[in-house]
Symmetry: C2
Subunit: 375 residues, 2 copies
């Protein structure tokens, strides 16, 4: 193989594909990048067996002097390309003799060991399935506004992924961890066939880092029974799906409530952040909401200290006293862009909903137990 | 005690004094801030027994309603002040009843435990000693350009500090770790009495983070036999000195050489950075300089890979082949602002000097052993 291309293009491709390089593995080949050169240009692929990413540098942007395929250790190769020249426009030439790879640019020459490209796992072959097109912006937003609600540990595999559910022209994305549910509804540009697919959280977090998030550029998402692929720009990502039926949540999404409050989002967020100072993971003291008339007191009484914070709110319905883990409120409030938010509550034992009028977002948060006499 | 002051002033003072809060200690009082209020205003002090910092908020900037002294846990207090209001100009009121401290701002009220201020260690009392005035800019520069050469571990206590040596109107600052020496000479505004003081590296690194570094603002440095103090703005830092006589280095600073090269600093730095990719702490392979006529080859041959980098240089004297730990070259080159640097060498066993014509800076680096046949 012998190719010449711009440092900038090569480095961008390495960074994109690099997200699928295995960090911890007993198979050294999964820590490699596969570089293939043919008449179509150069492609760079990484594959950790859960997620594969292939990105192309088109023939116009590079010069392929000799076709071929090589595998190189990803971290080392990326370090070399980053440092081989400080000019983005510098030409980099990569030559392989089957044992050693030579990388040259300007007056620098590196020589490193090749790995066996035959050992590199193939990209999963997807069967014909459902397709869906959304803008990069939309995909990035729905991920950002739900991903915090997936479970951190994988004692329940299903909770480490998000349900992508398509019905007609609506995409509903759901994440939950047993204490809370995050739901985002998005109107699609056209009607699609129904889809129910559980995509691993890591895949979603990787793709939201790779895509730029422009509203003018699209991502095509394809689903078959076992895989999902995301195609955008010159890149395709293929990920395994999580197998099984997602939790039935619709029965939990009641529209009834006894108390509704409307509050300035920034002020509520600041107050909840303040309360977090006094609450540690170890003592698990709750944050109390004490609503009386149009005043909401946020109170904490923990071994670290005591807080009383007062917010003006618009209230409909009954007074209530209810307790939360502040982390769940923080995550939801930080995801919301609106100036004001509505909270719906029923009793101190029933879920609290934070949702907008059109139900573009619904955050369900379970309250925690508390001893009312301490507040 | 009862005081009211602006969040901004209070938070800035906490941040400054906070650098002397003990991170790891068996004495909980060393993790506290001491807050004193009297007719002169408010002072905030931290003291980890090596370094003490006291910073004042003058009476014009605060209102002292009741004099007093309290001690509070530094991290908690700092978190509370950071979050209690999002307005820098917000008034914060601190009230103590001898057991609990109440901190209020706008509609927020925090209550935390006080610690016993009697247990808080007093600021060291310095005896009359030598004084020296430099700009904040100068102090920050001399520290930045030498501090990387102190030893990382304290198997030799002396190597964890820097010698501040005053002779007439010259300040010479020296740091060394057994493999290299960094020396910076600075002309002072006037003549001073001679000083030889070894200041702990941690003190220097703390002060260079606290001072703004303006050329228009001064730092007054006082030395007695055991302590050094730095006074600037509304703050005084007092640090223990390292006891003993510093290494005699003058006999090592020979002006003789057999080879001198002049090279573009940025290009040399880039090449040395490139070489670092292939050199790991574990295999300890060296970076080879192979100088022939006006061309300098930088070569590495390690288990990770091979590098050959060529630089154009201006050469005076003999050709030479010499080997280095690239880290020492990197540190020195990154500290130098000049466009070109001069390197002086004698043999492959003798130290290499990087110095400017006026010897404002001198970096001595010991070469390492290598096997010439491998390059």
């Amino acid at each position: 193989m012998k190719i010449t291309l711009k440092k900038l293009d090569l480095f961008a491709a390495i960074n994109t594909a690099g997200r699928a390089v295995s960090v911890k593995t007993t198979m050294p080949i999964l820590q490699c990048l596969l570089i293939n050169a043919d008449d179509n240009g150069v492609s760079i692929t990484a594959n950790d067996m859960e997620l594969a990413i292939e990105t192309k540098i088109s023939a116009e942007k590079c010069s392929v002097l000799e076709n071929g395929t090589i595998a190189v250790e990803a971290k080392l190769f990326s370090d070399i390309i980053r440092k081989i020249s400080f000019e983005d426009a510098a030409d980099v030439t990569i030559t392989s003799d089957g044992t050693l790879v030579e990388i040259t640019s300007e007056s620098s020459l590196f020589r490193i060991q090749e790995k066996d490209p035959e050992q590199f796992p193939e990209l999963p072959q997807m069967r014909e399935g459902h397709r869906l097109t959304v803008s990069q912006f939309t995909l990035k937003e729905v991920i950002k506004n739900t991903i915090f609600s997936i479970a951190a540990n994988d004692s329940n595999k299903m909770m480490t992924g998000e349900l992508f559910e398509v019905r007609g022209n609506n995409l509903r994305v759901i994440a939950l961890d047993g204490h809370r549910i995050a739901i985002v509804n998005t109107e699609l540009r056209e009607e699609y066939e129904s889809v129910n697919a559980i995509i691993p959280g890591k895949t979603l977090s990787d793709i939201s880092k790779i895509i730029e998030g422009s509203a003018d550029r699209d991502v095509e998402i394809c689903f078959d029974d076992n895989y999902v692929s995301f195609s955008f720009d010159d890149t395709i990502m293929v990920s395994r799906l999580i197998d099984g039926d997602f939790f039935k949540i619709d029965s939990m999404l009641s529209n009834d409530y006894l108390t509704k409050i409307t509050v300035n989002k920034r002020e509520l967020l600041n107050s909840v952040e303040r309360s977090s100072i006094l609450i540690s993971e170890s003592d698990k003291k709750p944050l109390i909401f004490k609503l009386e008339d149009d005043s909401l007191n946020l109170r904490v009484n923990s071994p670290t200290g005591y807080l009383d914070d007062v917010l003006r709110v618009e209230k409909g319905g009954k007074d209530i006293m209810i307790a939360f883990n502040p982390k769940f409120l923080l995550d939801a409030l930080r995801a919301i862009d609106d100036e004001k938010v509505d909270l719906y509550m029923t009793t101190s034992k029933a879920p609290c909903f934070i949702r907008d009028e059109n139900k573009k977002y619904i955050y369900l948060i379970l309250p925690v137990n508390f001893n009312p006499s301490a507040y």
